[in-house]
Point group: none
Chain length 411, copies 2
């Protein structure tokens, strides 16, 4: 459900401030039936106190059963229907590496692959090389390929077999099909302009030339002797939150992916002091919010490590990251936000070591709350909350409403 056109009609600028805290992948599962989840196992006196004066619920960012990637999960939190506002794989990979993309640039996700002498794909991931090996091959390609047909070609290591290629130039299109056949035993496909427009035809020709040149350059390599490309895409042109929700939003995130997705919806990603040891940089984030408090009215504050620990299957580590956030919470509240929301972009239960489809607990603190039976910010307690089960784009309008930023809908 795309609610943005309706919000655009009724949102208004006010001085009230909204703080949206995203504890990445915070939702969890018990290790054994009846046991506590990561949130329930954590000692969180500050979150508990806040929960007792807040409204709680459970939030499904995309759709029941669907485990969201970081892109769709965050777009939902920002009010953008992730089934409608889709971001190409190439662009997401570039954002994740912090590679700036202009409106004319095209990004593609690449796999280093192994081909047989007849040019058929033997292994789509070339035996999953080390990231170091990836860097060595990327260096060879960079040395040999700098531009094709007047368009600058940039090649970046992602990890293992994955890389990103960015084309920078005028007159490029992204209605271009993948070269990755998704199966072995057949040759790579030719990239094709699926809509037949001239900019996409030119882009397809450049990427096909890139793939041919890579095969020639890597012909003497023992394993990685070619590339497969997919997710060929330009930075999408989404409406900005300033325009649709009358907000001046800031993003406080230390990982490039989240800064990038926030910038796609028009947030200003604040600079952070990078001297802090913890890669989540909690002190630097707090300091960045504090020193920019007057300049913005919507603060998206992201913490990554709850998800990372879940992905690692480290239940206790995830508990510790939740407790770390709990210790930071009083200083955040001292800033005096009018509305605070705390939730996640998806669940990442340590027992699954992966993003999951389970709803994420959601807490909203602010004025005009109804009474609420939930006593803690946990999955079980959130299920008792007055907010019930919310989906996709339903969160942003609630935050705007509690902050007094929405007019009546209709007369």
């Amino acid at each position: 459900m795309d609610i943005l056109p309706y919000l655009k009609e009724i949102s208004k600028k006010t001085p009230s401030k909204i703080l949206l805290v995203v504890l990445d992948g915070v939702g969890g599962l018990p290790r054994e039936p009846g046991g506590p989840t990561e949130l329930a196992a954590a000692s969180t006196p500050n979150l508990d106190r806040l929960a007792q004066s807040s409204a709680l619920g459970l939030y499904t960012p995309v759709f029941p059963g669907l485990a969201p990637g970081s892109g769709p999960g965050h777009l939902a939190l920002f009010g953008y229907d992730p089934l409608k506002y889709q971001v190409g794989r190439g662009v997401l990979s570039a954002l994740g590496l912090g590679i700036p993309l202009g409106p004319d640039d095209v990004a593609a996700r690449g796999n280093f692959a192994a081909f047989d002498p007849e040019g058929r794909v033997l292994d789509r991931r070339a035996g999953r090389p080390s990231t170091e090996e990836n860097r060595r091959v990327v260096a060879r390609l960079r040395e040999a390929i700098r531009e094709i047909d007047g368009v600058a070609v940039e090649i970046h290591t992602e990890s293992e077999h994955r890389f990103v290629v960015v084309l920078r130039g005028e007159g490029l299109g992204d209605a271009v099909s993948d070269t990755d056949p998704q199966v072995t035993g057949v040759p790579a496909k030719e990239a094709e302009a699926v809509g037949g427009d001239e900019p996409s035809r030119r882009t397809a020709a450049i990427l096909n030339a890139f793939a041919r040149q890579a095969r020639q350059i890597l012909a003497d390599e023992p394993v990685i002797n070619g590339v497969l490309l997919r997710g060929i895409s330009k930075r999408p042109n989404f409406p900005a939150l300033g325009e649709v929700a009358s907000l001046t939003p800031a993003a406080i995130a230390s990982y490039p992916m989240y800064r990038g997705v926030a910038e796609l919806v028009g947030m200003h990603a604040l600079d952070l002091d990078t001297s802090e040891d913890d890669p989540d940089r909690p002190r630097a984030k707090l300091e960045a919010i504090r020193s920019n408090w007057q300049a913005f009215d919507f603060f998206y504050l992201h913490f990554k490590k709850t998800d990372s620990k879940g992905e690692d299957g480290d239940f206790e580590g995830k508990v510790a990251r939740i407790e770390m956030f709990d210790r930071l919470l009083p200083e955040l509240l001292d800033l005096g936000p009018d509305v605070v929301a705390i939730t996640g972009d998806h669940s990442t239960p340590a027992v699954l070591k992966a993003h999951s489809w389970h709803p994420v607990p959601l807490l909203i603190f602010g004025p005009h709350l109804r009474n609420d039976a939930a006593r803690r910010f946990t999955e079980d307690e959130a299920q008792k909350g007055i907010l019930g089960q919310l989906r996709g784009t339903e969160l942003l309008p609630l935050l705007l409403a509690h902050a007094g930023k929405l007019q009546k809908f209709g007369a």
Copy 2:
């Protein structure tokens, strides 16, 4: 919300098995305020035990307030948005009678009606004749009308005033309007090709000829002296569950309607031993699942009599059918399904003697469940369940997710 295109992108084939039990019309209402519903009144020790290790919720197949027919209710359970994937009334009636329909065939729902000498409709249902009387009139028509314009014409008794006419031939269309004017005192309408395409024009002409001939043949009848036709339709061409959800699905149902709707989404309807006295054939169904356990990975198991007893207003009879299912449950669980869902396609409260719009209790048993406060499979307890309130197409993705059959959505 049509979720199928998204599921198609992320579903994958795995060995895990899903059992979806549909207790038709199982949701109910108390006979007096505060009293038990049919489910709450039933003694269900096995369901109770299962509920205590499952996740529960309430499920609304179509939309709050809408009492689903069997077709829409089941399509929703299978993941097909019933507001989008519509089945014509003629086709549904044919499916209910177990009449096979090829892709070129056209089915229409017919009413035997009474007309005055000037050809105006006196009674759209001809005084609701007995089904036996219907059979006598159908025999007269069958005797006289076998084909029109080279197209085979089949006439089948449904019940009382209702019959089905099936046209079998090449080059037929179904963009054809009803002949039933829905009011009395006016003549029947002529069927018209609403889109103006040639196959639909031909079909309209054949059905108009059929209606004229029926009036001539039945001119000497005391009451039933004509027909009205509506819901002129071909078997819809829905995507198959195998294609969109990577499933190999089987249907275990004894009534033709449910076998037919399951076949519309590409399920294989298993043959059942018909010697069992009970028309719901519980033993035969169990045996059919058991002997086909290896060949399929999704089993839709349907029981009809909970609905029939509700339609009859027989509260105690419905309770008895719920208890019958409870006794069968341990043998179903012994098969070792990875994921089990138990629910209904709608509620049929005995006090209403009809399908109702009330949500149906839903139980999901399987891996990766959160803790749940619901202790029994009843309406009241399901309301406390961790699944909350689910709608329409939200069930299938959840079952696929718990069975490990969905990849992450987006990067």
